[in-house]
Amino acid sequence: MSIERERSNEMIRRYAGPKATLLSVLLASGLPALSQAVPAGNVFNPNISVVGNGLAVMGRNDVDAEPSIQLREVELGLQATVDPYAKAEFYLSYGSAENQVAVEEGFITFLSLPLDLVVKAGKLKGAFGKLNTEHLHTRLFADVPLPMTNLLGSDDGIEDAGISVSRILPAPAGVFLEGTAQLFRGTTENLFEAHSRSDVQPLFHLKGYGDLSESANLEVGGSFTRANNLEGPGYRTSLTGVDATFRWKPLRQSRYRSLLVRAEWFLSERETPAGTVRADGYYAFAEVQVARRWFAGFRHDESDHADQASLRDRGSSLLLTFRPSEFSQLRAQARSIRYEREGLGKSTANEVLLQLQFSIGAHGSHAF
């Protein structure tokens, strides 16, 4: 670091004010070498990341027969700032089940709006609890808990074109309270179907978070949505969700020890020509970090069928996850599910799932 350069930085700071910050960053911090290496046309290219998700399944399952080995999903993520007012992100995913590429999410976020609002518009995952907002690679399991498939339509849950508005709400000191209101077109695979332009789907989510200590915190949320279902025009499904997450991570040993306990409960009230079907389901999950790169978990999940509440599937899983680095992960899940099927009675599926996940490209933020 030459004195001249240090002095020129001082000059820039002192006389040109904050507008020169970017310039001084470029001048001073060694970025010149990098910026010269990046062709001018690439400077504004988005951050790119690709996540591969492989799944191998062993054992027998007559109800949900996943193939023995599959590259279950490839997700391409693109993120960049649009202009001084907004940023945009796109997540394109190829799923081996659908055998096609789909826009999982693609939206703009307006960051500097009055009233401290954050507004998103585009195709979004509904802010319905925790599970529904997670992409496949941020989920804590190799599979999808039963209430997601039984009550939220499919593995992907509620994702649709729409707009989302969220705001931090007044709360006692130290409590983070955020309200989110979303409006969707009203069409989600196996769950909602809009027959006219007035069949739009409102969704509300309230999230509360508080630190219990510097190492522990608690998050609770409530969600509600209602839209026209697949029975035909005029028949609606209301979904209610409650979620709670407890996290513990001693800061001094944050690389080695942590605990996460999460439960989510869902209620589906589905109108049909024969009356309203009330079905509920939940999962409860605990994960302990046993060493720097090893995590052990247990999950229990249960769910009625949304169209026939007298049928209830029940499952339990043991999980072991190894993370060699932030960018790859190997997960084993031993799972036993007792399915109930109309006419077929009960059947038990015992399986072992092996998931291999790997990502390249831009460093995403850590999941929380």
């Binding site: 670091m1 350069r5 240090e6 930085n9 001082e10 700071r13 002192r14 004010g17 904050p18 910050t21 970017l22 001084s24 960053v25 001073a28 911090s29 060694g30 970025l31 070498a33 990098l34 940023k87 976020t109 960051l111 500097s112 401290d116 609002l117 954050v118 931090i168 130290g174 983070f176 955020e178 999230k207 978070y209 508080g210 630190d211 510097e214 915190n217 998050e219 996290r247 991570k249 800061l251 001094r252 040993q253 944050s254 690389r255 080695y256 720097r292 790169r293 680095s325 932030e326 960018f327 390249i360 460093h363 933020s365 850590h366 929380f368």
Partner: protein, 307 residues
């Protein structure tokens, strides 16, 4: 809700009204590292209220993006970051939710402390993740060089004066006092440096290149085979041989790593394990930026043999 407001407002109003205009409304400074908060306190004095997101005893690479941090950032007048992608794992999503335009990168209230600092380990070749957690813009632990602390303090004084012009005289005075205190401390440290200059050390993570450069220590190896990758048995063996060959007397480790591997290697080589706080607050004695180095110098002086 309305009833509650009716009850609360009459209680609050006198409080709000009784405050004289521009009463001691302190500038809220939020920093990623405790060291930056300490520097902001030194320069800002009683005109600022500085808090850090990371604690001094926490690995600064792995801070969780807790929603409670969003509240702090929402109210911040100034955000000071270490930069060089040290905060990339948690700060971007927090900033997106903070609803505070001023503290976003390039805003008036955003200060990247690395600007103007002596940053080491800038990769000369294309970086890939095969190298581990390599930071493509250079080693982000640069605050461990007191010379860089001086640069950061000056940048803070300039930025605080910009945000709060009325306080400029105070900031300039505080900066001069801080620099005088640092100069005085540097004279103390120079004696210790003279005693151990050139001593070879091994460190756990590559947190100490700036520290080693200033304090004239020679880092010959790391517990981590690559940044962020835990030591493998093979690497430990190689490190033991290297340390025996080069007669390395100490292993320096950060407070947030596990002692097991350093202790194992120390037992095999006869070296001492020295646990140093890499940040203010990592040890109760490291209560501010100057005390951080005082403690490190005292701890190292005790550990280095025959000197």
């Amino acid at each position: 809700m309305r009833n509650a407001l009716r009850l609360v407002l009459p209680l609050l109003l006198p409080l709000l009204l009784s405050q004289p205009a521009h009463a001691a409304r302190k500038l809220k400074v939020v920093t990623s590292l405790a060291d930056l908060a300490s520097l902001a306190e030194s320069v800002g004095g009683d005109r600022v209220e500085a808090t850090s997101l990371a604690k001094g005893y926490q690995d600064p690479h792995f801070v969780e993006p807790k929603p409670s941090f969003i509240l702090k950032l929402h109210e911040a007048d100034l955000l000071v970051v270490a930069g060089l992608e040290l905060e990339i794992g948690y700060l971007p999503p927090l900033l997106d939710q903070a609803r505070n335009e001023a503290i976003r990168p390039n805003g008036r209230g955003y200060l990247d402390a690395s600007v103007g600092c002596d940053v080491l380990d800038k990769p000369a070749v294309q970086v890939t993740r095969a190298m581990g957690d390599v930071h493509p813009y250079g080693n982000p632990h640069y605050w461990l060089d007191p010379g860089n602390g001086r640069v950061i303090a000056r940048a803070l004084a300039a930025r605080l004066s910009l945000l709060d012009p009325e306080g400029k005289a105070t900031y300039d005075k505080n900066l001069a006092a801080f620099e005088a205190r640092l100069t005085e401390a540097e004279a103390r440290w120079a004696k210790a440096i003279a005693a151990w200059a050139g001593t070879k050390i091994v460190t756990y993570h590559s947190s100490w290149p700036n520290f080693a450069k200033y304090f004239k220590l020679d880092v010959v190896g790391f517990l981590e085979p690559k940044p962020g990758i835990p030591p493998s048995p093979q690497h430990k063996l190689e490190l033991i041989n290297l340390m025996l060959g080069k007669k390395v007397p100490v292993i320096v480790m950060e407070v947030y790593f596990d002692r097991k591997d350093p202790d194992f290697i120390a037992a095999k080589t006869g070296a001492k394990v020295v646990v140093l706080s890499p940040s203010v607050g990592g040890d109760p004695a490291a209560k501010d930026y100057v005390a951080l180095f005082d403690l490190a110098v005292a701890t190292l002086s005790k550990a280095l043999p025959g000197r």
